[in-house]
Symmetry: C2
Subunit: 241 residues, 2 copies
DNA sequence: GCCGATTTGTCCGTATGTATC
DNA sequence: CGATACATACGGACAAATCGG
């Protein structure tokens, strides 16, 4: 959490919007007014506002102003958008996370694994299966592949807690980008065994490739979600590119 | 398609990346070099690059440079991110779209519809059911709700072609923001009737609320996708807010 | 319809901080 | 340590859209 000026302004405005200081559909104070309140430059303020736009809090209109379009019921608790670990998002929503490690092995990528994950053939990997519980319910079955020489000395104990915490705080790896693809897939025997799927015969699947600051893809993960608890939110803008 | 300087730079750099002028994992020329090539200011160049970051083409690293992380196989044809109509994305991928209007009615929002869509009770709406074909296959079943006084004089004929084209080019409505939520739902009788679901008993469902430049939500749409042809792509970054 | 005030959008230049090598 | 790279922040100028008189 950097303490730059524009993130502070962003957080302050976001807070004012969420607490209802500006009403739904109301215009925020004009740029010039906000520049004075925050004693900052125009660029700095505009940067904060543009982050609010991408997060779906406000919309800007040339010649008119900046309108609050935040609706608490919709924004919900499960806004995805950034990169967040299971543990992080659980805690943010005041829920109790638990992780069970079903399988912890070391493998070498063959052609088949390479095709699925994007790692080159011959890569030395950790392969894990983990089951994530939220408030006691098994919701997500994860297949994780980590490059061994990046996520070095990973253990089952770490995997039961939080791998991301270990990567960032102990190994000082900075996670930068993640490409995610969402699909719907038929359930497998493993899914059926560990997740309570009820009548559903398929799951929501999120496949992601994660890069560190050296530009190496060090993680491929396939998250298989119980469909009735899955929800993915997104704010799109009409882009002119 | 505005002809601003930074969109031109964005498009040029993106094109150079896609055509392989910069190799995967290679560093782009430094900011200062690019500023000179494009004869622009620092802000303008940085704006173009930051768009490439959000689109997953490059990653920036302080003190190091800007790395190309574009992989053609993955980027695929179906990158979602902005707001795009069915017709637009079909044409962009050189596929043949067809739309069949199953139902075209005018309704008034009651409590139930209001809860589902977010329109206030009493709103006058067009309600449509449309079936979208791609290369002859029925892939998407849409339930569209439009505010009547915004999407005025909508007809069945327009709905068979492209509603967005009508809204933008004839009514001169500018579409600004869209909030989307992705879930997986069990199939209904209507789904089963019109989409070839095979063994699947559920679908990928995208619910979206769309706003115009006056800040009024004028559209609620639920798109029900055949799961085996559904794919939603996303580039996330570790954000510090 | 025009004009001027207001508001956001684009673009430029510069200075300083911070990470990397 | 210095050179290079991106990150943050400031200030100013003009364009484009909106609104009221």
């Amino acid at each position: 959490m950097p303490k730059t000026k524009y993130t502070e302004i962003y957080r302050d405005l976001k807070n004012k919007i969420e607490t209802g200081e500006y009403e739904f559909q109301e215009l925020l104070p004009s740029e010039n007014q906000l520049i004075q309140s925050y004693d900052c430059s125009r660029n700095t303020l505009r940067r904060a506002v543009s982050s609010l736009v991408t997060d779906g809090y406000v919309q800007t209109m040339q010649g008119k102003g900046v309108r609050n379009i935040f609706q608490p019921t919709l924004q919900a608790s499960f806004t995805i958008g950034g990169i967040e670990s299971f543990r992080e998002s659980a805690l943010r929503n005041h829920q109790v996370p638990k992780t069970e490690v079903l399988c912890f092995t070391e493998i070498t990528a063959d052609k088949k694994i390479s095709n699925r994950t994007g790692f080159p053939v011959g890569s030395e990997l950790y392969y894990l299966q983990r089951l994530h519980y939220l408030d006691g319910k098994a919701l997500i079955l994860n297949h994780n592949y980590f490059l061994k020489h990046v996520a070095r000395n990973l253990t089952r104990e770490i995997a039961e807690h939080s791998i991301y915490e270990y990567l960032e705080q102990t190994l000082h790896i900075t996670i930068v980008t993640s490409k995610r693809i969402m699909t719907v897939e038929k359930m497998t025997e493993i899914d059926e065994k560990y997740l309570e799927l009820g009548d559903y015969n398929c799951l929501a699947v999120v496949s992601s490739q994660t890069y560190n600051s050296d530009g190496v893809m060090f993680e491929y993960t396939q998250s298989r979600h119980r469909p009735d608890y899955f929800r993915f939110q997104d704010n799109a803008t009409r882009r002119m590119m």
